[in-house]
């Protein structure tokens, strides 16, 4: 059954990514660490959405909803960061 094989392959890829993210946490620090771990998490989420959550078979509209939710979350985080990344007293607020 090829459909089953696809699902199992997706799962193996997910497990590999899990090892990768734990491994990376031993090596990387600072901004590189957070960028890498978020990139890996995004890749995992993409695999789950695409293979497990049937996005592969759904119409463009449903894909748009999935992407839209992510895009809106990005608006929330990025625009908040325009404030926190440019505070003059960053880190000095609490000693």
């Amino acid at each position: 059954m090829s459909a089953t094989r696809t699902l199992v392959l997706a799962w193996s890829a997910l497990m590999c990514l899990l090892f990768a993210t734990v491994g990376a946490s031993f090596v990387l620090t600072g901004p590189w660490s957070i960028v890498t771990s978020l990139a890996i998490a995004l890749a995992k989420a993409a695999l789950i959405f695409w293979f497990f959550m049937h996005l592969r078979e759904e119409a463009g509209l449903v894909r748009l909803v999935a992407i839209g939710a992510g895009a809106w979350l990005l608006i929330l985080i990025l625009l908040s960061m325009t404030d926190y990344a440019t505070r003059p007293a960053l880190g000095g607020m609490t000693n």
Partner: protein, 558 residues
Amino acid sequence: MTDSNALDSRPDRNDPHDPGLSETMTERESYLRAGHTLRSWLLTTDHKRIAILYLITVTVFFFIGGAAAVLMRADLVTPQGDLLSNEGYNRAFTLHGVIMVWFFLIPSIPTTFGNFLIPLMIGARDLAFPRLNLLSWYIYMLGGLFTIYVLIAGGVDTGWTFYTPLSSMFANGHVVLVAVAVFIVGFSSIFTGLNFIVTVHKLRAPGMTWGRLRLFIWSHYATSLILVLATPVLSMTLVLMAAERLFGIGVFDPKLGGDPILFQHLFWFYSHPAVYIMVLPAIGVASELVAAAAHKPIFGYWFVAGSSIAIAIISFLVWGHHMFVAGQSMYASAVFSFLSLAVAVPSGIKIYNWTATLYKGHIALDPPFFFAASFIGLFVVGGLTGLVVAMMAVDVHVHDTYFVIAHFHYIMVGGTVSAYFGALHFWWPKMVGRTYFLVWGRLTAIFIFLGFNLTFFPQYILGYLGMPRRYHVYDPAFQVLNVLSSAGASILAIAYVLPFAYLIYSMRYGDPAGPNPWGVTGLEWTVPSPPPKENFAEIPVVTTGPYDYPMELESRDG
């Protein structure tokens, strides 16, 4: 209004033995008579009946919130503030805000007119998830009961914004309970929005392409996007605020390394788009009323439709303009100030297109037109002063003054409430099948317009002169303007109560409306008034655009 097309003859009014005194054939087959028990109303999944349930409850909350406003305006007649205690005044404006925002303005037009009209306008028998629709009314009621409980138990004094650290560390009163009420009612919003989006995508009648959708549908679609994407963030913010108050988790507390401004970021990420949740449906109503009054196709259909979507998207990019003086970084303030000015573009497009639609139209001076004209005028004033407060430098001067109060009341009350009453007057004959006295409708619209301006225009001046919001003891120099404002509020209060007298009267004694009393286009005007339970005997096939004027079927004498 002539009833040349009323098919059913009215029973003899003078015959006291006629049991059918107040019932016509259409009414007997309508959704209103599809079941007479209370149970048949409380367990209904018919979108029209749920709309009526919402209409009643939303209106009740409007008057509760209005009563709080009456108390405040009465207190503000004298500069000493001798009607309410300091604490009492704080609780009055908080409840006014909480009830008006979450229990009236946000649900008002979508849950009543949206619920009633979306399936009728797109040619469907119901919303996509009828049981979810009923559930969302019950969730709304649960949140409402919590709020009423808080009202009886003594209220809250944080203001509707729940700013930390006031709400988390200092405020007395039932902060957590109100947060729970707003949290609950959020789910009602989410389910309504979800239902509308799926309905518009999947239940359009054959031939009902996107370009043939009414502008009312477009603006409700845009509203639903905001409801679905913004409301959950508010839910999480309230959870964090309640946890901060109960356990001192510190996320908004600098002592533990948190940031009080983070609350404002999260809160306004919801609450600024929420302003457009309130005003976009009103814009949709205005588009319908303008086209109906002018009996002309709407000018620049795609621009009006597209600008609704543009407003929905841009509304998420501007929240920081509430925080210019809160300690936000100057760079972020500049970004938000610039983005805020961008919202004016799609709003301006709408105003110009409505005006162009009316130009050279055969305008029918019916009550809906009076409300639409009043909406446009007040929305322009509210919108332009919105630009004033969106500019960082000016906002520093008028921040937290009555200028801001006047600005958002022009949008919320002048805009949304006018549109709510306009929609009520336009679709009332469709909802109950009877017409009301048009003269009273026109008078109400005029009284609302005059009373509103008398109430809120003085507040612009007060704010510009420096009177801060949320104080009931003020400099005696401000008294004249405050008395004017309170006088206007009493006119406004009468004008808001008036329609309920003649509209309820019309339900029994009005003349049968016929399917299309205004002589306008639209699928909802092709079915009997009031509509039968299944809306359409047969799902219609749509072959024409949304504002296909001049109409061939019948023409009104202009």
